[in-house]
Structure formats: C-alpha cells, structure tokens
C-alpha cells in the first residue's frame, strides 16, 4: 500500500473513532419526571413552568397555601421528598434574629463584634440588622485568594464551596473590606456571621437553635440542618447541576445559616402557613421580618432577609435559594393570604415557576 493511501486510511479510521466516541459519550442530562403526585392542576403548572426556564430538570415539588388550605403536587417527588432549600435558610436566620430581639437577647443595632471574635476589623462594627438586610457592606463571599480558589474549584467539582468552620468564617470576616455600607448588596458571608452571632448569643450552636426555636415549635419534623458531611445521612438525597451533572450535597459548615437547611414541601408549607397566619409558634410577629426596612432608594425592598417586589413588578414577598444541586423559591402574597413554594433537585431556577403559579392562582 502506498504511504499517502495508508495515511488517509489512518485519518479516516481516527475520524470514525472520534465520531463514534462522540455519539456514545453524548451528554444525557436528566429529564423532568412525568410521574405526577398530588393535585393534577398544580402538577401541570409545575410542568408548564419548568419549560420556561433553561437547565436540566429531574424532580419538582410545589405547594400552594391559601385560606382554604394547602395544595401539594410533585413531579417525581411528593410532599415528603427532601430537598436542599439553599438560601431560603436566610429567612430562618432572620426569624431567629427577630425572635432573639423579642426575647431581649440581642438588638438589631448590636455590632457583630459583641458576639463573635472579630477583633478590631470593620466587620466587627456592622450591626445584626445590617447583616440580615444585606446592608453590612460585606462581600457576597470571602474574597481571600485561597477562599476564592476553593470556591471556584469546588464549584467546578460540583461539591460544597463552603467547607469552612467558625474560625475560618471569622477570619474571612476580619479580612473583608466593607463596600457601600448601608446599601443592599447580597452577602452569604454576612448572613453566615449573623447566624453564628445569634447562636453565640444564645450560648448554643446554630443547628440546635433552629430546632429549639423554629423546627420543633412549628412541627417541622422532616427539616434539618446537617452542618457537616458527618451529620448528613448516608442516603441523603443529592441533586444535579444546571448542566445535569450529579452534585454533592451542600452542608456549608459555619456558613450553614446562609443556606444549609434540608426540608420537604410539606414542612415548608407549614412554615409559609405560619408566616401568613402570624402563628404564635413563631414567637414573633412575622411582619418584623417581612416588612421592608430602610431607605427604599438604597436598593431592593428588603426586610430581615425577605425581599419585596417593587410596586411596578407585583406584591410578592419572597426569597429564593440555590445550592449545587437544588433550587427553591418561596413567595408570599400577604394581602391575599397566599403563598407558593417550589423546590427542585437541579440547578435550574424555579423562580419563574413559583411566581407564575402565584400570579395564576390569584
């Protein structure tokens, strides 16, 4: 065989191998389950809403709470399926803050340095109220080179980007510069500090504080905060990234007050119902968290963690969440005494799913 012919054959063979490998290795992200549970109308709304936002889908669970009661639906999930609720955890931290103020343990104007070892750093001066309303000026996440590298690398791996203990968290806060203090700038670092400060004020740890003051009084028996991988059940549910790759659970360690809770749609409906009804089991009037505070010209309308839509956009009071493998949204229509919660086990947003259902069922 002539040499050019042999080379062309090798080239063709290599191309066939690449093409065959490409076909065999084609991405196969999960698809949204067609197994509906609960209310068929709400399940159909979940299916329709999910198609409006990009990203991989697997299972969804939703609940509508109105004066007539609670309606559940799920796709590949039911009201007892566990999800990570991500940053909706911040609303629980805000509730703990409001409770602690009510109990006289802390004041919204107390500096964080009163409760945590922040030395003479700028972070020591920010108040608990500022931490909860994202007006502290702290950055969204720790900005040291090692923390940024850990965040990027763990995100690439699909694992928890917040593996830090309390010492590391306070070091992050001590090293952080404040930017535009008083203006709303979302900060996971700030809310993590707040949760740890509240735990210190109550002389306990954050997970125990949640159980004692929120989960147990509200009967949220399927809700937990496993702050470290060791505390996570061996068969704990995990989700998928936006691209559909399996993602590790996020436990978040000392950052857990910013996003570490795992819950079910049934328990979250119980929580929403308590907020709408000002349930005495909350230990405080929920308006203290939900009502926007501060100067509306200084950014979004925000109470203690809770966002309120600008008047031209609607009337919802809401918070969403996202971890490596889960997304969540809770939206309250306080005037109509209604709420919608949607939980998903992929990185694809469920914000529009929940907001659309809230508007459709108005």
């Amino acid at each position: 065989m002539k040499r050019p012919t042999r080379i062309r054959l090798i080239a063709a063979g290599a191309a066939v191998v690449v093409l065959a490998g490409g076909v065999l290795a084609a991405p196969r992200p999960p698809a949204l389950s067609t197994t509906a549970t609960g209310d068929p109308t709400l399940a159909a709304s979940l299916t329709a809403g999910a198609a409006r936002e990009p990203g991989a889908r697997d299972t969804l669970a939703g609940a509508v709470i109105d004066p007539d009661g609670v309606t559940f639906a799920g796709l590949g999930a039911d009201e007892n399926t566990e999800f990570e609720i991500g940053s909706i955890t911040k609303t629980f931290t805000a509730l703990l803050l409001a409770q602690a103020v009510e109990r006289g343990e802390v004041s919204l104007d107390d500096p964080a340095g009163d409760y945590l070892d922040l030395a003479d750093s700028a972070a020591a001066e920010v108040t608990l109220g500022e931490l909860s309303s994202h007006r502290s000026g702290l950055p969204r996440i720790a900005t040291s080179p090692s923390a940024l590298a850990t965040s990027v690398w763990n995100s690439y791996r699909g694992s928890d980007p917040y593996p830090y203990d309390l010492d590391a968290l306070t070091n992050h806060a001590r090293a952080a510069a404040l930017t535009d203090r008083g203006t709303v700038a979302y900060s996971n670092l700030g809310v993590a500090l707040l949760g740890q400060a509240l735990a210190a004020a109550a002389d306990t740890d954050y997970a125990d504080l949640l159980h004692e003051r929120i989960f147990d009084p509200l009967g949220m028996t399927a809700t937990s905060l496993p702050a470290t991988p060791d505390a996570l059940a061996a068969d704990a549910r995990t989700g998928y990234t936006l691209a559909g790759r399996p993602a590790d659970a996020w436990t978040m360690n000392a950052y857990a007050p910013a996003g570490g809770i795992r819950s079910t749609i049934a328990d979250m409906a119980r929580y929403a119902q308590a907020l709408l009804d000002a349930d005495p089991a909350l230990g405080v009037d929920p308006a203290r968290m939900l009502d926007p505070q501060g100067d509306p010209d200084d950014g979004p309308l925000i109470g203690l963690a809770w966002f309120t839509q600008a008047p031209e956009d609607g009337t919802a009071t809401w918070h969403n969440g996202g971890t490596g493998g889960f997304t969540s949204m809770i939206a309250l229509d306080r005037e109509a005494n209604r709420a919608v919660i949607v939980l998903g086990n992929t990185g694809a947003s469920v914000d529009a799913v929940a907001m659309t259902i809230l508007e459709e069922t108005a």
Binding site: P27, A243, R245
Partner: protein
C-alpha cells in the same frame, strides 16, 4: 453570561485544534508535540464540557457539531503529521517537554474530577 463560559472555552479549544491541524499558516501547529497537546486539550476539554456545559440550553446539536470539528481536526492532524518535525527547536526540548507534561497533567485533573 457566566453559564456560557464553559461552552465558549470548549469551542475555543476544539476550533483551535482544528485550526492547528488544517491551517497553512495562522495558528498552525509548528511541530508534532504542539499538535498532540492541542489535540489532547481539545478532546479533554470536550469530555469535561460534557459535564460542565448546560447542553439543555445550547442544544445537543452543539455537542455533535463540536465532535464533528474534533474529528476534522484529527483527520488534519494525521495528514499533517508526516510533514512536521517532532520539535521545531530541539534546543528547547526540556522546556517544551515540561510544559506539555504539566499541561496534560492539569488536563487530566480537570477531566478526572468531572468524570469521576
């Protein structure tokens, strides 16, 4: 926009490999080592991109298009191989060898963590 970065990176490396294999001048591989490293980077990052890129937003056609471009690059690389020296400048053998080794090691880690 951030969600598109992985796809842009993968497209860049796969297209770059095809260019290095087929281009007569601009972007052309100067020697076999460069061609091998370009090819491994393109194939490795496409493999990593399988898990990192949101193919539900970009469509699977983009995946198949990239596989096609990679295959075209492989064809070009095989055809060009006999015309290239192992190393354009043998005096830089050590430096080029280390550079290629480190690049491939980093690539192996990047691919490994997405496929483990």
């Amino acid at each position: 926009m951030i969600a598109w970065i992985p796809l842009i990176v993968v497209v860049g490396f796969v297209a770059g490999f095809a260019l290095s294999a087929w281009s007569p001048r601009i972007g052309a591989a100067r020697d076999r080592l460069a061609l091998v490293v370009d090819g491994l980077m393109a194939a490795g990052l496409l493999l990593a991109g399988r898990s990192i890129v949101d193919w539900t937003s970009t469509s699977l056609y983009a995946w198949y298009a990239l596989v096609l471009v990679l295959a075209a690059g492989v064809v070009g690389a095989v055809l060009r191989w006999p015309t290239l020296p192992p190393l354009k400048d043998p005096a830089k053998r050590t430096r080029r060898g280390w550079g290629a080794g480190v690049t491939i090691a980093i690539l192996a880690v990047l691919v490994g963590v997405t496929t483990a």
